[in-house]
Amino acid sequence: MDTVNIMIVGVGGQGSLLASKLLGHVVMTKGYDVKVSEVHGMSQRGGSVVTYVRFGDKVYSPVIDKGEADYIISFEVLEAARYLPFLKKGGKVIVNAQEIDPMPVITGAAQYPENLLDKMTAAGADVSAMDALSLANEAGSPKAANIALMGRFSKYFGDITEEEWLNSLEACVPPKFLELNKKAFYLGRNS
């Protein structure tokens, strides 16, 4: 099998580490070789963050380059647009429709760009937007938006069953938060 390349992008603090952990875990249990590259440190402080997940028969590099991503999962609209050059022509973008102002917008030095979803489609991406934040609130906490988004993403992989996703969720989430995250996952998967 060719390596599948997935980028998880967003704003530092939005929970991309858990999302990538879940994805890495589930594909490993399916017997694939897998590499996950994370960001720790400085950029976690509200900066733009990107995590790479790659799986297949044999994976060497932990990073994804321009034009290589099959999927971009984004927790925020501007961040999806930022990493678009990493997407293969016709690749899929699954994006939480939330907009978070970066500091240059807050200070008035720049404006939050308009119509980004349309611009991404025009650039050749297959864009699917969802309101993961509302689903997370419905599940019980805005913090579960990451897992709601992963729930939606899970639909793209027919050969990984719902049960396998839930088993991995159980392995990656502390018991205290499991019910909340399961709920968010279902809401995303059925959205």
Binding site: G12, G13, K21, G24, H25, M28, D33, V34, K35, V36, S37, E38, V39, H40, G41, M42, S43, Q44, R45, G46, G47, S48, V59, Y60, S61, P62, V63, D65, K66, G67, E68, L78, E79, A81, R82, L84, P85, L87, K88, K89, I100, D101, P102, M103, P104, V105, I106, T107, G108, A109, A110, Q111, P113, L116, K119, M120, A123, G124, A125, P142
Partner: protein, 581 residues
């Protein structure tokens, strides 16, 4: 058992399996998790030391006592620990000793991108370089064996993409070797000239022995390729990029040990191919070695001295086709890291910026005080430099700077290397105003305890250094404590201390807003009837405050109710749940 593991966690697992007994480190991205993960094994004694030099000396002490030890640090940490390193190379070890140094090409979280391999060469200490999590685990175990066999500390060099990527590892049981007996040995361990002179030739012989090992070891391996027009010598993450870019097209000499480097192995490899290309991030270390031994190679004429590589960087240099990508969308605003909502550093920097006070800065979350709109900081160099530079600045400028220049330094950084600088002010007497930003944690690297917090690496109660008492004991008469959430008090005290005719220390104290035990108030919101759109609240650069439909807006998922913005609003438009100011 098969598991998917972070490189740093796999390294810790290797330490555990090899019977490591004592770990002492100072945090620094991307090295921190090796020690954090090791601390989860009850069989290993682990601690955060105040700095890297202390950590390395602790690890040396444990090795001297006969146990397997470890110390970990980021690349710049090795600058701090260089002094013990160069002489532990001479004494050698008793129990095995591993030093982890984690480089950060691309400077994801660092102030420079120095190449640590130079330290291995300069100190004549062997260095291994894993390329994924499996090797991180295996090399840790191998390094202890090499350390004890060759009587030397062993450096394992990580880099961001190995340290912070997860891949699959195979774990096994812990095996604790028989501790070595401690025997007094003045000639080996007391490094005064007469003894050190006799140790130096032993070090040189050791390097010759290690070169022999480098020729034979399976961790320096040749992988066959289909096309012998090119042969590639590489290591670490560059090996992975190479395999990703060209698969088994060209033969590859993959080096797991980067100091000392083999000679015959490289010469023989070169004979089997037309052109040797060296692929290494940062400096041309392997390339220079090849040229020194008379092997003609291409390296930095094809590859940059700067930043990180990737598979497409390698592919391009080797003449492979580029991939077709979606075009970039132009004009997107950048998203730099910012101080969190409720960060106690914000109120302090706002005050300094408001009064245009010169700020000699230091390293930590508060380095972000240099970012717009606060733009308060004038200088950041390395840990501890704020205090010593302020002293120098004031000695140079005298009256012209003393009354409007301060330095800022975090609690962990102060313990790391600020104390000796403060001693210099106490001793050589400059009229300096030093601000310690005490957020009761090592914030930037992800919340490690330090000597001022009262807790150890496991979160258990520990010794706690009293900052006020420490400063007073050094001879400072003026030691003030302020709450940076209280802008009026903070402003008053800073003005008073700058005006004073002697040196002073201001402790700006308020725990990091992300600490679990910190209780927050509910989010504020904007009373849009009262908001006059003056944007005064936006001067503090809080990520929770933005401008929506012509009025200020508070994001209730981010705001922690710290109230700093309320103090800036002249119209009482920022209100709490009950509508109160």
């Amino acid at each position: 058992m098969k598991e998917i593991m972070l490189g740093n966690k796999a390294f810790a697992r290797g330490l555990y399996e090899a019977g490591a007994a004592v770990v002492s480190s100072y945090p620094g991205t991307p090295s921190t998790e090796v020690t954090e993960e090791a601390a989860k094994y009850d069989e290993i004694y682990c601690e955060w030391a105040p700095n890297e030099k202390v950590a390395m000396e602790v690890a040396f002490g444990a090795s001297l006592a006969g146990k397997r030890s470890f110390c970990g640090m980021k690349h710049v940490g090795l600058n701090v620990a260089a002094d013990p390193l160069f002489t532990i190379s001479y004494t050698g070890v008793n129990g095995g000793m591993i030093i982890c140094v984690a480089d950060d090409p691309g400077m994801h979280s660092s102030q420079n991108e120095q190449d640590s391999r130079h330290y291995a060469i300069a100190s004549k200490v062997p260095m291994l370089e894993p390329s994924n999590s499996r090797e991180s685990l295996e090399f840790a175990k191998l390094a202890y064996d090499l350390s004890e066999k060759y009587d030397t500390p062993v450096i394992i060099k990580m880099c961001t993409r190995v340290a912070h990527s997860q891949s699959i590892v195979e774990t096994s049981e812990r095996v604790v070797p028989e501790p070595k007996k401690y025997e007094k040995n003045i000639a080996k361990y007391v490094m005064m000239p007469g003894n050190a002179i006799k140790r130096h030739p032993i070090v040189e012989q050791r390097t010759l022995d290690l070169i022999k090992y480098a020729e034979e070891t399976p961790i320096n391996r040749i992988e066959e390729g289909k096309d012998n027009s090119v042969g590639i010598i590489t290591s670490s993450t560059c090996y992975q990029y190479t395999k990703e870019a060209v698969g088994d097209k060209y033969p590859v000499l993959k080096l797991g040990m980067v100091n000392p480097l083999p000679v015959e192995k490289i010469k023989n490899f070169a004979k089997t191919v037309k052109q040797v290309i060296v692929i290494e991030e940062l400096d041309p270390v392997i390339e220079t070695h090849c040229k020194n031994i008379g092997v003609d190679v291409k390296g930095k004429e094809l590859f940059s001295l700067l930043g990180e590589f990737s598979q497409s960087v390698v592919a391009k240099a080797l003449g492979e086709a580029e991939k077709e990508a979606c075009p970039a969308i132009e004009g997107l605003p950048v998203r730099p890291p910012v101080m969190c909502a409720g960060c106690p550093h914000r109120g302090l920097f706002y005050t300094l910026s408001k009064h245009k006070i010169r700020v000699l800065g230091d390293i930590g979350c508060y380095t972000l005080g240099a970012v717009a709109p606060l733009s308060a900081t004038d200088m950041t160099l390395c840990m501890g430099a704020s205090i010593s530079s302020l002293h120098g600045f004031n000695k140079a400028m005298g009256d012209a700077s003393e009354k409007d220049t301060v330095c800022v330094i975090g609690d962990s950084t102060f313990m790391h290397s600020g104390m000796t600088s403060l001693a210099n002010i106490a001793y050589n007497q400059s009229n300096s105003t030093v601000i310690i930003l005490d957020n009761s944690i090592t914030g930037m690297t992800g919340h490690q305890q330090n000597p001022t917090t009262g807790y150890n690496i496991k979160g258990d109660p520990a010794g706690k250094i009293d900052l006020e008492a420490l400063c007073r004991a050094m001879g400072f008469n003026r030691v003030a404590v302020v709450d940076p959430y209280d802008l009026a008090q903070t402003e008053k005290v800073i003005k008073e201390e700058l005006a004073a005719d002697e040196a002073s220390v201001i402790i700006s104290r308020r725990p990091c807003a992300l600490l679990k035990y910190v209780k927050h108030k509910p989010s504020l919101h904007v009373d849009t009837d009262k908001c006059r759109s003056c944007r005064a609240c936006m001067k503090i650069g809080c990520p929770a405050i933005s401008f929506k439909d012509g009025k200020a807006h508070v994001d209730n998922t981010l705001c922690v109710g710290c109230g700093v913005c309320q103090q800036l609003c002249k119209f009482d438009a920022l209100v709490d749940e009950g509508g109160n100011v």
